[in-house]
Structures are given as structure tokens and as C-alpha cells.
């Protein structure tokens, strides 16, 4: 095999890239990570809450017991799940908490990516990976047959046997250098988020949480003024992440800009008290893939693998968002497949094909497949974002409002509200959604 500068080059030190580098370095390979941010995490934003299972398995399998959950810079363990249907004039929220949510292996945690990604990168570095920060990979080096054998960054050419592309959602390399398609406007959303600082005790009392624990919250309806998307909130140790996600196609035709939507959302009477008195510290933006299974591009090339968001491995189910646990798993599987291929002396597309097989067998592809119909169902379910939050508001108004006039049985109060929307249509839509989920 030709001499190369490194065994493996990883593009990007996000969740997928840092874990790929960590695993490959632990398996004794020479690894270079090229990250465009001055530090890992400098360019990254998430909601966010990470479901911890895949990261835990990586450290269980590779850290020889050195890294446990306590060592990971999580913000808060999420023990309260809140979903809210928001109408301009009302809001209905479910607050669910359960012992099951915190159990080891099923636990999830809020994270802030600047700190979290730097820590992940440190683990990869301690395992032996080298880092170049502050420079973006511009091109892939390819031989005449199109096989990838390295990268070009900041005018330098660096070679490797395998390149793992973990560049994230705005995947210029995957599109321009590997020929994967550009995501469509209706399969991609823009996320906008603000971080508000608040003392820890204040967060715990506002969200009714025990010390160190926290809440995740998702809104549908007026958060995006009825356009496809929703609001999200995650409690961190001493701050709150609050933001919106909106599908680019629908938003680009709408009557409100994304930042005005966020401002209106922050001022909604049911949201304003949450951030009252908190200090705004950062305003960020990032894309999130919504295309699901049908938007996964080619993952395996001669000399190159694609992992994480760069491969659209993300699920937005309305009541939960998952991308980081998929990024971690795909980073691990990409590194393992690359190491095996290098050891076998065949890093061609065929030699690297075990990545795709391992992915197909993993929760990543299987879950995306399970939810394959959801993106389209959600996008065409306009009433979920407009009329249903209003209907729910009317139903609860009919239950809770007392005005001294003689009242009627509940069914007489509620049925007209539901019938006005078409009972069978409603049941049909809910059934369709439950099937897609």
C-alpha cells in the first residue's frame, strides 16, 4: 500500500468526527482531524439534548473503564419531557416525568456544543489523534480513477488511506467533491436559537426539577405561526437554550421571517415568563435535516466514508429531535470499517462496504427507516400547526372557563368543537401520524 501521511483523516470535529477519530486512534491508527473552527465546537450549535446510549457504548468499549458518565461535561440530565400545543390565545402543555427516563443506558442530557465538542476532541487527542484547527478542508485529493487519497486545506495537501467526511449539515465536501445531491428546501430546516443565562436554582424552580436535573420542551403551532416547524427548549446548568426549527421551503413563502418568529415566540404569554429576567448571551443559527431515510446520500466511496449530519442522519419527529446519538454511532462505525479495511489492505469502495452493512444493522438506519414516512406526513399536516392547537385551546376553555351561566355536559361542549373540524378527518389524520411514527 502507498505511503500516506496518516492512516485516516477526519473532516470536522463534531460528534461524528471526534468519535471517529477517538475510535480509530484507540485502534492504533494514525489520525488527523481537520476542524474549521478555531476550537472544536466553535462553529456548532444544537438544540440540544443527546440520548446518551451510543456515546456510553463507545466509552464502555474503548476507554478501558477510564471514562464514565460522570466524566462527560453534560449540562443536565433530562427528567421532564414537555410537549406544548401553542395557539396565539392559548397553550396546552403535557409535562411527563418517569423513573424510566433517567435509567443508565436510556438517559439523555442537555449539552452546549462549545464545551461538549472540545471535551470530545480532547478525548480523541489523548487517544493519539492529531488536530489542525481553524482551517477548512477545501478539496479532496483524488487519483485518475476518482479514488480519494487525502485532502487539501489551507493550500496544503495531506494524504491518508481513508478520509472520513464528518463535516456536518452544510455539506460542501460531500456535494462538491463526492457528488452527493444538495438537500432540497423541503427536506431541510433552519434552526435559530438563543441562550439565556439564569441561576441554577431559578431553572430548577421554574421547571420543577430536582438539583442537576432538567427539562426538554417542544412546541407545535403558533411557535412558527402555523408554518411547518416548532419551538424547542432545553435547560442547561445555568442557562436555557430556546429556539425554533422551520422547514426552509415553507418558511421561504411565509409572512414572517425566522427571527421575527423567534421574537414573537419569546413574547408569547406562555413563553415570556420562562425567560423573564434571564440574560441573553448568544444568538445562533444552524441547519437540521428533515428528509429522513429517503434523504440519506451515498455513504461509501473509494477511499472515503460519510458520517453524521453530512449524511443527513437526523430525525425530527415533532416530539423529539435526534441527530447527535446517530452522529456518534455513525462516527464509530465509520472508524471501525476504515480500520478493518486498512488492515485488510483494501480501502476501495468494496473494501469499505462493511460501513454500510454495519449501519444497516444499527439503530441508525433502522430507526430512520421506521420513521421514513414521517417527514412527508408532517409536512402535509398543516392543521397540526394551525387548527389543532386552536381546537385544543377551545376544548380546554370549554372545560375550565366558568362564567356563571348554566352549563352543559362535557360532551355537548366538546363535540361541536371537534365536529366543526370533521371528527373522521381528525381521527384519520391522527391515525396516519401514529402509523408514520
Amino acid at each position: 500500500m502507498a505511503d500516506t501521511d496518516f492512516d485516516i483523516i477526519v473532516i470536522g470535529a463534531g460528534c461524528a468526527g471526534a468519535i471517529a477519530a477517538y475510535v480509530a486512534a484507540k485502534k492504533g491508527k494514525s489520525v488527523l482531524v481537520v476542524e474549521r473552527g478555531e476550537y472544536a465546537g466553535a462553529k456548532n450549535m444544537t438544540g440540544g439534548r443527546i440520548y446518551a446510549h451510543s456515546l456510553k457504548r463507545v466509552f464502555d468499549d474503548y476507554s478501558e473503564g477510564e471514562i464514565t458518565t460522570e466524566d462527560i461535561p453534560y449540562e443536565r440530565k433530562i427528567t421532564h419531557e414537555r410537549i406544548s400545543l401553542l395557539d396565539p390565545a392559548s397553550s396546552m402543555t403535557i409535562d411527563f416525568t418517569s423513573d424510566e427516563l433517567g435509567v443508565d443506558g436510556r438517559d439523555s442530557y442537555s449539552v452546549l456544543r462549545a464545551e461538549f465538542d472540545q471535551w470530545l476532541a480532547e478525548q480523541a487527542e489523548d487517544a493519539g489523534a492529531e488536530f489542525i484547527n481553524g482551517i477548512a478542508v477545501e478539496h479532496l485529493l483524488k487519483d485518475d480513477a476518482g479514488k480519494v487519497y487525502g485532502i487539501e486545506a489551507g493550500g496544503d495537501e495531506i494524504t491518508a488511506q481513508v478520509v472520513i467526511d464528518a463535516e456536518g449539515q452544510n455539506s460542501l465536501i460531500s456535494e462538491r467533491e463526492l457528488g452527493n445531491p444538495r438537500s432540497k428546501r423541503d427536506a431541510m430546516a433552519v434552526g435559530i436559537k438563543e441562550v439565556f443565562e439564569l441561576p441554577a436554582e431559578e431553572i430548577e424552580s421554574r421547571f420543577l426539577c430536582n438539583e442537576g436535573e432538567g427539562a426538554a420542551m417542544l412546541w407545535a403551532g403558533d411557535a412558527t405561526h402555523g408554518y411547518t416547524g416548532g419551538g424547542f427548549l432545553y435547560t442547561n446548568k445555568e442557562s436555557i437554550s430556546l429556539g425554533l426549527v422551520a422547514t426552509i421551503e415553507d418558511l421561504s413563502q411565509s409572512d414572517t421571517t425566522i427571527y421575527q418568529m423567534l421574537d414573537d415566540f419569546k413574547k408569547h404569554p406562555s413563553v415570556a415568563p420562562i425567560i423573564k429576567g434571564a440574560t441573553l448571551s448568544e444568538h445562533s443559527g444552524h441547519m437540521v435535516s428533515e428528509g429522513g431515510y429517503n434523504s440519506i446520500p451515498e455513504l461509501v466511496f473509494d477511499g472515503c466514508l460519510v458520517a453524521g449530519d453530512a449524511a443527513n442522519l437526523c430525525m425530527n419527529l415533532g416530539y423529539m429531535v435526534r441527530g447527535m446519538d446517530l452522529a456518534v454511532e455513525s462516527g464509530r462505525l465509520a472508524a471501525e470499517a476504515a480500520c478493518d479495511a486498512i488492515d485488510a489492505g483494501d480501502v476501495s469502495k468494496a473494501g469499505l462496504a462493511s460501513y454500510r452493512t454495519k449501519m444497516d444493522d444499527s439503530f441508525v438506519i433502522q430507526d430512520l427507516k421506521t420513521y421514513a414516512l414521517w417527514p412527508e406526513t408532517m409536512e402535509n399536516w398543516h392543521r397540526m400547526f394551525t387548527d389543532y392547537p386552536k381546537m385544543v385551546g377551545e376544548i380546554f376553555n370549554s372545560m375550565f372557563v366558568v362564567d356563571g351561566k348554566p352549563t352543559q355536559h362535557l360532551n355537548k361542549r366538546i363535540m361541536p368543537i371537534v365536529k366543526q373540524r370533521g371528527l373522521f378527518k381528525l381521527l384519520g389524520e391522527v391515525k396516519g401520524a401514529l402509523k408514520a411514527l
Binding site: R36, G37, E38, G41, A42, K43, N44, M45, T46, L112, R113, A114, F116, D117, G134, I135, A136, E138, G154, Q169, N170, L172, R182, S183, R185, M188, V190, G191, I192, E194, V195, S239, S241, I248, L251, S252, Q253, S254, D255, T256, T257, I258, Y259, Q260, L262, D263, L280, S281, E282, H283, S284, G285, H286, M287
Partner: protein
């Protein structure tokens, strides 16, 4: 496309809280005409709606403006309009651009 409701929020103030290394020399995003008056109105209006940093603006006289300096590097304008009016979208030069402290 629906008519835009009035914008009451000043995003410039919000993004001024962020940390940036602004590259005054190089625009990493360019539209298809240097003179923005020549850029397609409808496509530009899409960018006004989707950019989370409010960098694409149309003032009361209908005058368009775009300033890459506050860019959050999300790529939304690229996905929205690379097939129409976004002619160039590159990563900023080394060490330039936004630097999140929270993320």
C-alpha cells in the same frame, strides 16, 4: 409567497452578543449581481425570510442590502437559493467568522 408582516425586532443587536472574527477583505457569500437592484426580487425575499441573522434586508423604499459580516455560517441561504441567486458560498477564510461560546 405571502406578504411580509412588519419586522419589529432588531437582530443586529442580538448578533452583536456573538463573538466574530470578521474578514473585511473576503466575502464568503456572493449573489449573482454585485448591484443588488439587479438581483431577482422574489428569490431575495426568500432569503429575507430564512436567514437567522437577518443579513438580507429590504428597506421601506424597496432597497435591498446584504452584509456577510454577521453570518452564522448555517448555509440556509445556500440550500434556499444556490440554484438561483446565491452564486458563491464558501467557508470563511481560516480562523475567520463566527465563534460560538455556548453553541
Amino acid at each position: 409567497m405571502k406578504k411580509l408582516k412588519p419586522i419589529t425586532v432588531n437582530v443586529d443587536e442580538l448578533i452583536s452578543l456573538n463573538h466574530y472574527n470578521v474578514d473585511e477583505e473576503n466575502a464568503h457569500i456572493e449573489l449573482d449581481h454585485e448591484n443588488l437592484d439587479e438581483v431577482d426580487d422574489t428569490e431575495f425575499q426568500k432569503l429575507v425570510r430564512v436567514c437567522p441573522a437577518a443579513l438580507y434586508k429590504v428597506d421601506e423604499e424597496g432597497h435591498k442590502s446584504f452584509d456577510y459580516a454577521g453570518c452564522l455560517e448555517c448555509g440556509t441561504c445556500r440550500i434556499c437559493c444556490e440554484d438561483t441567486i446565491v452564486k458563491k458560498w464558501e467557508m470563511p477564510q481560516p480562523t475567520m467568522g463566527v465563534e460560538y461560546r455556548f453553541g
